[in-house]
Symmetry: C2
Subunit: 446 residues, 2 copies
């Protein structure tokens, strides 16, 4: 395929993509296929000679589409949202064409530098403490990881390395293996499975902290566990807090837990993979309070911030902690600017060596939406739903409410007004509201 | 940006991509920028309101291009090749539109199943032993990792887990931590830095085996190290062989080393990240001999097989070894077909949870090139160069050679013919040939 054919086929593909996304609602959201369906639909070996492009495109509909779970269908409510926007797709086309492997500054300066600046932009949107930003000439900075799993793993490995060094500095008789065998990490019993997996990979114990009635980790319970473990000779070194748990979107009490972690020399990582995008709205930002005590923070713009997978944003307070854990510099990856202190070589910040130019899609999306557009997108669901709910309530005429606006959110006010009101009136009203909400959420457009 | 605007902008982007790649040779291959150049070219914060798409595209040339190292420029000889082809880019556009996160079979059956079948196709192209293929109802199979670093890490972690279980089964008095502290992994002193890094992440010792005069690991030296370590009470459990080292494309002697690893219950992983693509040509396939002794094998189609980054192909002889190392099944990731034994949930095969539909680009490339086209691409460099070299030799008229064809390769024959020939004639001829080769390789089109 030469450039001329690519121009033609590329434009056809753009239409195919737009057609697919415009008409996605007409497709069954979950495929009706049995395991192994695909193997019988295509040959058992690659063709010897080139095939026609038309045949391949026909096979997309014949072979691929019947087996697709349509994550961008409005009928898809499984797992978690995954972001998708046209500007991000355009940026990804450009990323594919440039095709640089940005493991170091020299491997493509623009790839590294745009990433650093985009993580600063995003950090400012979240009102992260300045110490997490790179542009303030501090010790912190941001990086794009592929997934939250990798961000958690990197934070745990950095914490492990830092703990070993710190403990060895004051206990020179302890071997590294002895320290490793006594290290203990903690996370909520509601945390995502990838957190436990990070500890398995890193070869350290991890304990699950029981949560309160709101599925949040609280200080008292956590402190009790830490004290008991210390009394047993263990070495607490890491806590992964969750802001927005997978089962119920619960928030650990990081404002209570952070100071404890700091006092105990434990690394606090905050995993806000799903909920984190909401913190760009001032009305949700208080949920991030406590981040000032964290050593690292991560959320996934590829879930809810319109940037196509993969784009998991991670910040650390001290770049050196992350880099120091694994820095390896073979000669073939060295470059002259490396020791100037001015450049970032992102290969030290992540598990893989190679990396794509993922900050392009952040840049396109941030600019095409603006902060206002992104905030409006985050607020869209609840405001629209609340407005529709109020319409139903009004149409039914059983109860009467009026709405209000709070920090850009459409809020339904429920005021206890009548002199003759009893508890059963309130209960009946609440049942009515939840019933109408339930009906509304059943409808295909929500 | 709505679908209509995307149709227009997408087509413009297709032209931009084609223009960029058609004229890439006119751009300086390595950017002339100082560290930090980009930050001053763009605002310090994201815009409040949406910007014009035109302004963003103008900024690609103003902000991004001056800082790009052009990996696809014909003047780029650094690091390693990275694959790029139009069919792969088209497939990536489709991948972006579908935007599924294929961590399990149910998350998008086509995404998982096409990957399994594509890895079988590719395995057959490489003439991998059947035990590595999934379609033969054996215990093996393939997976796409992001990078070779991740493949190496996964193999080391699986080997670590398997070794701990095996040793505990016969030494019930040994704790897991005691075993971990005695495990020792090996690799060549020529191995890529990511191999050593995998051991650092996994928290196990790794020793470098000295290589012979061809930079290859040989059995004798390796066996000596293993015996000494065993005598010291250590537990050898893993060897990472390299086929095609980074500094000199050396090949470890896997046919000698494999049986030793098998006897010693050591996992043998083969890292052929760069050179592996060549094994699809029968004349290079003997270099892969010994793979039958390996537990896992990996190479990067995203380096030399026309499939854009990221696409690192990995096969294991026993899927259970990889899966068993970390299988975690929280309720929200379970699905009804999971226990049928028919489905593959690739999240257990890798470090991240989420994964893109990367097999689409393999499918497009394999079909658009066919095996013949792919083999011709691998052979292209050496055949064309050899033909040009022969032309120069003939034009200079200092010596006289004739070519031949061997298994599809254009070969220069150097026959010792004359009765009166002396050693210095051969030396002079060789000097002449290397001088002309040197001059040829200096020219921009090579």
């Amino acid at each position: 395929m030469d450039a001329e054919e690519f121009r033609r086929r590329g434009k056809e593909m753009v239409d195919l993509v737009a057609d697919y996304l415009e008409n996605i609602e007409d497709r069954p959201v979950y495929p009706d296929v049995e395991p192994g369906y695909l193997r019988s639909l295509i040959p058992t070996e690659a063709p010897q000679d080139p095939e026609n492009y038309e045949d391949i495109i026909k096979d997309v509909e014949r072979v691929i589409m019947p087996g697709i779970t349509h994550w961008h269908s409005p009928n898809f409510f499984a797992y978690f949202p995954t972001a998708s926007s046209y500007p991000a797709m355009l940026a990804d086309m450009l990323c594919g064409a440039i095709g640089c492997i940005g493991f170091s500054w020299a491997a493509s300066p623009a790839c590294t530098e745009l990433e650093t600046v985009m993580l600063d932009w995003l950090g400012k949107m979240l009102q992260l403490p300045e110490c997490f930003l790179a542009g303030t000439h501090g010790q912190g900075g941001g990086v794009i990881q592929g997934t939250a799993s990798e961000a958690t793993l990197m934070s745990l490995l950095a914490a492990r390395c830092k703990a070993v060094r710190r403990i060895q500095a004051t206990n020179s008789d302890m071997s590294e293996m002895e320290i490793l065998s006594k290290l203990v990490a903690y996370t909520s019993d509601q945390a995502h499975s990838s957190v436990e997996r990070a500890a398995l990979i890193g070869g350290v114990k991890m304990k699950k902290v029981p949560t309160d009635e709101h599925y949040a980790v609280r200080k008292d319970m956590f402190m009790k566990m830490v004290e008991e473990d210390k009394a047993d000779g263990l070495l607490p070194f890491y806590f992964c807090a969750t802001l927005g748990t997978t089962p119920s979107c619960a928030f650990d009490k990081t404002e209570e837990l952070g100071p404890l972690c700091n006092e105990e020399n434990m690394w606090m990582h905050i995993d806000a993979a799903y909920a984190g995008s909401a913190f760009i709205c001032p009305e949700f930002r208080p949920l991030l309070n406590g981040v000032e005590f964290a050593d690292s923070f991560n959320f996934n713009p590829h879930k809810w911030l319109l940037i196509n997978f993969d784009c998991s944003a991670m910040w650390v307070k001290k770049r050196a902690d992350l880099i120091g854990a694994f820095k390896m510099d073979p000669l073939y990856l060295k470059h002259e600017n490396q020791e100037s202190g001015l450049v970032t070589d992102y290969r030290h910040w992540q598990i893989p060596l190679g990396r794509r130019f993922r900050s392009l899609k952040m840049w396109f999306v941030f600019r095409m939406y603006g902060l206002n557009g992104l905030q409006a997108y985050i607020r869209k669901g609840s405001n629209e739903l609340n407005q529709n709910l109020l319409k139903r309530i009004t149409q039914c005429r059983e109860i009467h409410l009026v709405p209000c606006q709070l920090s850009g959110r459409f809020v339904l006010r429920f005021a206890i007004c009548a002199r003759k009101i009893e508890s059963h009136h309130v209960q009946k009203a609440w049942q009515h509201i939840t019933q109408l909400t339930f009906e509304l959420l059943q409808e295909p457009e929500h």
